[in-house]
């Protein structure tokens, strides 16, 4: 997991995200131990591992939603975080979500509408989020993570509920974000997509006293 040149610039710029020696336990059960990661501009980093190996915990710590027990997380850029479960307001429409998450910035709301349309979700309806399909909810959740064009994207299985076409679209979008010079850290179970990643961080369930990476 050492430092790598950016695929976009080819230069050795500072990583947007550096995780060093990260450790986390829930009660006495260790989930992460000695995890390291560096995410550079123009990279897609896949985080894989079996259930319970700490993938979601790692992303939540990187996003700032949880504290680690040991180690450091150093972010040099704004981050957009898409959680595994969409975490939306059931009684708001997608357009109302965009207005809320844009925080009154007209440009951000318009950008969100374009993003959502590019993912195939129409804003014409007054449909509440609770009445959307699982895939449409997840697309809205992903769009909210992308608002404001953050340079670092932390995406926790963001394509859950997507149909095949949307799933392929997601990876095309990931390629576009990569070309834009963003760093994309994506949790995935799908080993067939690992060739799309510049780095793969495989987490293992902690059974032995050894680092995970």
């Amino acid at each position: 997991m050492g430092s790598q040149p950016s695929p976009v610039t080819g230069s050795q710029s500072a990583p947007l995200l550096t995780v060093t020696g990260l450790g986390k336990s829930y009660r006495r059960r260790p989930v992460l131990r000695g995890v390291g990661l560096q995410a550079y501009r123009g990279q897609v980093i896949a985080v894989t591992g079996e259930n319970g190996s700490g993938k979601t915990t790692l992303l939540r710590i990187c996003a700032g939603l949880e504290t680690a027990d040991t180690g450091t997380v150093h972010r040099r850029a704004a981050a957009g975080y898409c959680p595994q479960a969409p975490a939306l307001f059931d009684l708001l429409t997608p357009a109302e979500h965009l207005a809320l998450f844009a925080g009154g910035r007209a440009g951000a709301a318009a950008e969100g509408r374009e993003l959502l349309a590019s993912l195939g979700v129409s804003l014409q309806t007054r449909t509440l989020v609770r009445d959307l399909s699982g895939g449409a909810r997840q697309k809205l959740s992903l769009t909210l993570a992308l608002l404001g064009q953050p340079e670092l994207l932390l995406l926790d299985e963001p394509y859950q509920g997507f149909d095949q076409g949307s799933y392929l679209d997601f990876w095309h979008h990931a390629g576009a974000w990569r070309r834009q010079g963003r760093a994309v850290v994506v949790v995935t179970h799908l080993l067939t997509e690992l060739d799309r990643a510049d780095q793969v961080l495989e987490l293992r369930q902690l059974a032995q006293d050894r680092p995970q990476k």
């Binding site: 020696g21 990260l22 450790g23 710590i61 996003a63 700032g64 939603l65 949880e66 504290t67 680690a68 027990d69 040991t70 180690g71 450091t72 997380v73 150093h74 972010r75 040099r76 850029a77 704004a78 981050a79 957009g80 975080y81 959680p83 479960a85 975490a87 939306l88 307001f89 059931d90 009684l91 708001l92 109302e96 207005a99 809320l100 998450f101 844009a102 925080g103 009154g104 910035r105 951000a108 509440l128 909210l144 608002l147 404001g148 064009q149 953050p150």
Partner: protein, 245 residues
């Protein structure tokens, strides 16, 4: 700041309007309690007025707990927990005043108290305190069930406790309860009770803010992972800024 506060208030207005069945049931509850008592009890106005805390407090609880994960995302998008709380407070207090006016109007029409202004004041003060109480319970407790049970307990004790006891005096609706008693009895001064209710509400809001700040994981980038403060390899995060902030 103002745009964000307006965005939060607008969102919670939409949510409250779409929960109209729940809001209607919450609003009818104190009237139902008053209706069961008004022919038989001299305390019907006090009981019905304090029971309006179920409406405002319940609405506040239901605005907080289902939104915990979404609020975490809003914090990551640059919102401060204080803004998220204040937006709710504005919407819920406004709704509470409307419901209080209806509740007080019905009770005045039903009982014909000697001092009807005290009924309005008592019910409105109940709502003023009940919203921060609901926000605090919603911020501190993990699920709606627990929060509603605690609300029922507090309001129930306030209704049943003798007004001159310590337990009654330390609960949030004591001042409102005194005003409601005065509506059908000897008159009492409004301002000390208003001041007490506002002070109590401010304390509850401070608790709600601290608990919600903790629950939503609101950590600035310079303090994401304080972890164990004395640990030699304690985690920390540096630099950068949230998008949208």
């Amino acid at each position: 700041m103002t745009a964000r506060l307006a965005a939060v208030a607008a969102a919670h207005t939409h949510i409250l309007v779409r929960r109209r069945t729940t809001v209607a049931l919450l609003a009818l509850l104190p009237l139902a309690i008053y209706g069961a008592l008004y022919r038989h009890s001299a305390h019907a106005v006090t009981v019905g007025g304090v029971a309006s805390a179920f409406s405002a407090g319940g609405a506040a609880i239901f605005s907080m707990l289902p939104a915990r994960a979404a609020d975490q995302r809003l914090v990551l998008a640059g919102y401060r927990p204080a803004v998220l709380l204040t937006g709710r407070l504005i919407v819920l207090e406004a709704a509470s005043i409307v419901i209080s006016l209806i509740t007080a109007g019905v009770m005045i029409a039903g009982t014909g108290p000697a001092h009807p202004a005290d009924v309005f004041a008592g019910v409105i003060l109940t709502g003023i305190a009940a919203v921060p109480l609901g926000l605090a319970l919603g911020a501190m407790l993990p699920r709606e069930l627990e929060a509603v049970l605690v609300l029922i307990g507090i309001v129930g004790i306030q209704i049943t406790a003798e007004p001159d006891t310590l337990i009654s005096a330390i609960l949030p609706f004591h001042a409102a309860s005194q005003l409601l008693d005065a509506a059908v009895g000897a008159p009492t001064a409004l301002w000390p009770r208003l001041a007490l209710t506002v002070a109590y509400s401010a304390g509850l809001l401070a608790i709600a803010w601290a608990a919600w700040r903790h629950r939503t994981g609101a950590r600035s980038l310079s303090t994401i992972t304080p972890a164990r403060l004395n640990h030699p390899a304690r985690a920390r995060t540096e630099g950068g800024s949230h998008h949208g902030s």
